[in-house]
């Protein structure tokens, strides 16, 4: 948006103007489009190695810092400025709103904090809201100085749970984790103010519904402030979407009587944060349906917190998945790799039950789909699958018994409930049968018994477990010469050279650190199938911190590729001190690849071609094919 006028950022703009006449991975190669702009890219890369067309209005130097800072969660050089910003989030955001709305001129509304009230008595009672605490408004900020910023994941109070939660799990799908953290905090707590990413749900009367950190009731004053900001702007016939306050972004999403707010200094793009708020809202709808709106219509003071009782874990698990599950920004689901015949066998038995009044039959292993079948004309949106599987996997009670629970699929029908029969077949594998009939429990139980028998008999469950152990695609397994076809279809000198002599060279150079040509990781998203496949994380992307950082980089890439103002784009090549990122979008697929920051560009491009070919070669195993009713 802001930066596209700057000359160095034109890299993908120009790319996007290069039409890619043939989007099929088999028959064309990314070289064609990328080679054409190669020289241009080189000069750009030299001039501004970190720059890149981005929707982010931040300057290029800030872009650099996104990557530098994100992993550590603590930036010492900017400490002072940050402290100031953090201590005054509210003040600044109000200030911005006020400026935009010309509050003071209208003379209708302002906030105490806008006015510099120096004479305020600096009492800060623990039982009062931060607004009271802020009576020493600038004082509150100064007490914060000298304390290092708390990472999103690290407990300020030395509470190890924090680290466990977002942090130190190595698996791609971390285990279920306890829900609410740091309940003792409120907006007067320095630690609370230093959290990198807050999420709030509140009602249009300003009553708190959910807060990621801290106790909702203690945050009632803060919640009221958020409501006041939103409502004030709305009164003027306008809508507040985003407020920037120093390093913080405050993102607002209004869904009828439900207000959602994210306050973040993670430097994720606005579109990503907004998408996350949409998912949080969707999760709420999944639990309650949109009919809660009626309660608010009849009674604005309606308090819906009791209706959400016990669902803290569902929301915290969803928020956690924003940093490890690419489905949250790709809007696609992923499958567990399985032999084609195995998945067919699972699909066949699910199909049988779908004919007997089941709307959707879904067999999943953690967040990965084994197979799914829908009744005629019924289509399942990937976001609904994400929210449903998050709901099921985050709630411990589903694991211990067979359950029958009302759920709502927001993209299917946000107004009404379906009923979900959920049963775990083994520790990670669970079956979900969705129906419209509230008395179908025994029928679905019978269906489950039949399904389970067939799955056991045909060894599907053991195959599922083996696949879990084997893992998915590994970059180091990227075939040098994926298929005989590629020899014929790659007339480019560059590629044939790589295919013949360079692999050895690179195997040496990058031994143990990723795949050929410095390939570290990739995600391939099939547009038709609504599915993606992500390579396993390998060295050097080992820790979950690094994984989160990479996902955030992908997320940013995704947002810039799909930018509504200057996008959509077709290719993007981006180099900074952490990665080379390459993105290629065609009508059929999207490829996101991360390489060693020193990776050679030509090699990276041809490696992407090989990845696409590889995915194509194994698509029978990594995707659920022929599930046409599920594309939406």
């Amino acid at each position: 948006m802001g930066s596209d006028s700057e000359s160095p950022t034109s890299s993908d703009d120009s790319t996007s103007q290069n039409p890619n006449p043939n989007p099929h991975p088999n028959s064309t190669s990314i070289d064609q489009s990328l080679d054409a702009i190669e020289d241009q890219l080189t000069s750009i890369a030299l001039a501004q190695p970190n720059d890149l067309a981005s929707d982010d209005p931040a300057s290029s130097s800030e872009e650099e810092e996104v990557f530098k800072d994100a992993p550590n969660g603590s930036v010492l050089e900017e400490e002072n400025q940050k402290e100031r910003n953090e201590g005054e989030i509210v003040e600044e955001e109000v200030g911005v709103v006020a400026a935009e709305e010309e509050v003071r001129e209208e003379g209708r509304l302002g906030w105490r904090r806008v006015n510099s009230e120096v004479e305020v008595d600096r009492l800060s009672s623990p039982s009062s809201s931060g607004y009271a605490g802020e009576r020493g408004s600038s004082g509150g900020a100064s007490t914060a100085s000298g304390i290092e910023e708390i990472g999103e994941d690290r407990g300020f109070d030395g509470n190890g749970r924090g680290e466990f939660f977002d942090g130190a799990s190595d698996s791609q799908a971390p285990p279920w984790v306890p829900g609410k953290r740091h309940v003792d905090e409120d907006d007067a707590s320095v630690s609370w103010r230093k959290r990198k990413k807050h999420f709030f749900i509140l009602s249009h009367s300003g009553k708190p519904i959910y807060s990621r950190y801290g106790d909702e009731h203690k945050l009632a004053g803060f919640s009221a402030t958020l409501q006041a900001i939103i409502s004030f702007v709305e009164n003027g016939g306008d809508r507040v979407k985003l407020v920037r306050a120093g390093k913080h972004q405050v993102v607002f999403l209004v869904k009828g009587p439900i207000y959602l707010v994210c306050i973040s200094c993670t430097e994720e793009p606005y579109e990503s944060l907004r998408g996350q708020l949409e998912l949080i809202y969707g999760q709420m709808i999944l639990i309650l349906t949109k009919s809660v709106n009626r309660c608010f219509e009849k009674n604005p003071k309606f308090d819906m917190t009791p209706l959400l009782g016990g669902t803290d874990v569902v929301f915290s698990s969803l928020v956690h998945s924003f940093s490890w599950n690419p489905a949250t920004f790709l809007h696609a689901y992923t499958c567990l790799p399985l032999a084609y015949a195995t998945r067919q066998a699972a699909g066949a038995i699910l199909h049988d039950v779908a004919d007997s009044g089941v709307l959707f039959a879904i067999l999943m292993c953690k967040h990965k789909v084994v197979s799914l079948v829908g009744a005629q004309k019924a289509s399942l949106h990937p976001d609904d699958m994400l929210l449903l599987s998050n709901f099921v996997t985050s709630s411990e009670s589903f694991r211990t018994s067979e359950s029958f629970s009302p759920i709502c699929l927001p993209r299917y029908n946000p107004m009404a409930f379906l009923y979900a029969y959920v049963h775990y077949l083994d520790v990670d594998t669970y079956l979900m049968l969705l129906t419209t009939s509230s008395d179908a429990f025994y029928h679905l139980k019978d269906c489950r018994i039949r399904i389970e028998m067939v799955l056991l008999k045909s060894n599907v469950l053991s195959e599922v477990q083996r696949s879990m152990l084997d893992g998915g695609m590994r970059v180091e397994d990227l075939p040098v010469d994926p298929s005989p076809r590629s020899e014929f279809s790659s007339p480019h000198l560059g590629q044939s050279r790589i295919a013949t002599d360079s692999p050895d060279r690179f195997r040496e150079a990058f031994a143990g650190i990723g795949g050929p040509a410095g390939l570290w990781h990739f995600i391939y998203r099939s547009i038709f199938l609504d599915q993606y496949v992500s390579s396993e994380f390998a060295s050097p992307i080992n820790s979950s911190q690094q994984q989160k950082r990479l996902y955030r980089a992908y997320q940013k890439l995704y947002a810039s590729m799909h930018d509504k103002v200057i996008g959509p784009h077709k290719t993007q090549f981006r180099r900074d001190e952490n990665y080379v990122l390459l993105c290629w979008v065609t009508p059929d697929f999207e490829l996101y690849a991360a390489f060693d920051p020193l990776a050679d560009k030509a090699l990276a491009i041809s490696t992407c071609n090989r990845v696409c070919q590889w995915v194509k070669d194994v698509e029978n195993e990594i995707f659920l094919l022929g599930a046409s009713p599920f594309s939406w």
């Binding site: 209708r108 509304l109 302002g110 906030w111 105490r112 806008v114 004479e119 305020v120 009492l123 009672s125 039982s127 009062s128 809201s129 607004y131 009271a132 009602s203 249009h204 009367s205 300003g206 009553k207 708190p208 009731h217 203690k218 009632a220 004053g221 803060f222 919640s223 009221a224 402030t225 409501q227 006041a228 939103i230 409502s231 004030f232 709305e234 009164n235 309650l288 349906t289 009919s291 809660v292 309660c295 009849k298 604005p300 003071k301 309606f302 308090d303 917190t305 209706l307 009782g309 016990g310 009744a375 009302p406 709502c408 029908n413 107004m415 009404a416 409930f417 379906l418 419209t436 509230s438």
Partner: protein, 206 residues
């Protein structure tokens, strides 16, 4: 689950500027009083946890600005209030006369479902001033007005001395709680695929 259930009550404090709304709130929440007057800009928010009949609940107190230029805060501020506190200064006749306007304004903006029975509480503040000798609104007069408006509970307080403040807020909490009791029924639908329409089912949540 029900024992842990906490209620949040939105309490709005209205009244002319300078009658002591912020001081009352400060005395109640923080047990502090300052002689210095500083105008509230727009609104201020405080929370206080209160125990009442073995139930824990949170008062979310919306302290609004009394100046006329802030009066059009609009629906947003009043929406979903559980109780409204009308404050006047017993030493200033105008502030008492204006109670009617404040009450009307609130009922228009908040449009509660049952305006006749919406819980108001009236507070006559600053009874300590000059030992009561500068008082212009008699308790009798105030009580008569309250009675005429559907028996609004009435308190005379001194935010400075802390007289009757706790008692007033106790009743505010109690009345707010009572009005919150008649909760809206949450009745979600179930999808009826066959008819393409929705059937109302019994609410079965939580």
């Amino acid at each position: 689950m029900p024992s842990r259930r906490r209620t949040l009550l939105k309490v709005i404090i209205l009244g002319d500027s300078g009658v002591g709304k912020t001081s009352l709130m400060n005395q109640y929440v923080n047990k502090k009083f300052s002689n210095q007057y500083k105008a509230t800009i727009g609104a201020d928010f405080l929370t206080k946890e209160v125990q009442f009949e073995d139930r824990l609940f949170t008062l979310q107190i919306w302290d609004t600005a009394g100046q006329e230029r802030f009066q059009s805060l609009g629906v947003a501020f009043y929406r979903g209030a559980d109780c409204c506190v009308l404050v006047y200064d017993v030493n200033v006749m105008k502030s008492f006369d204006n109670l009617n306007n404040w009450r009307e304004e609130f009922l228009i903006q908040a449009s509660p479902s049952d305006p006749e029975n919406f819980p108001f509480v009236v507070i006559g503040n600053k009874i300590d001033v000059d030992g009561g000798s500068s008082r212009v609104v008699s308790e009798k007069k105030a009580r008569a007005w309250c009675a005429s408006k559907g028996n609004i509970p009435y308190f005379e307080t001194s935010a400075k001395e802390g007289i009757n403040v706790e008692e007033a807020f106790q009743l505010i909490a109690k009345n707010a709680l009572k009005s919150g009791e008649e909760e809206e029924m949450y009745l979600p639908d179930t999808i009826d695929v066959a008819n393409g329409s929705q059937q109302r089912s019994t609410g079965c949540e939580c």
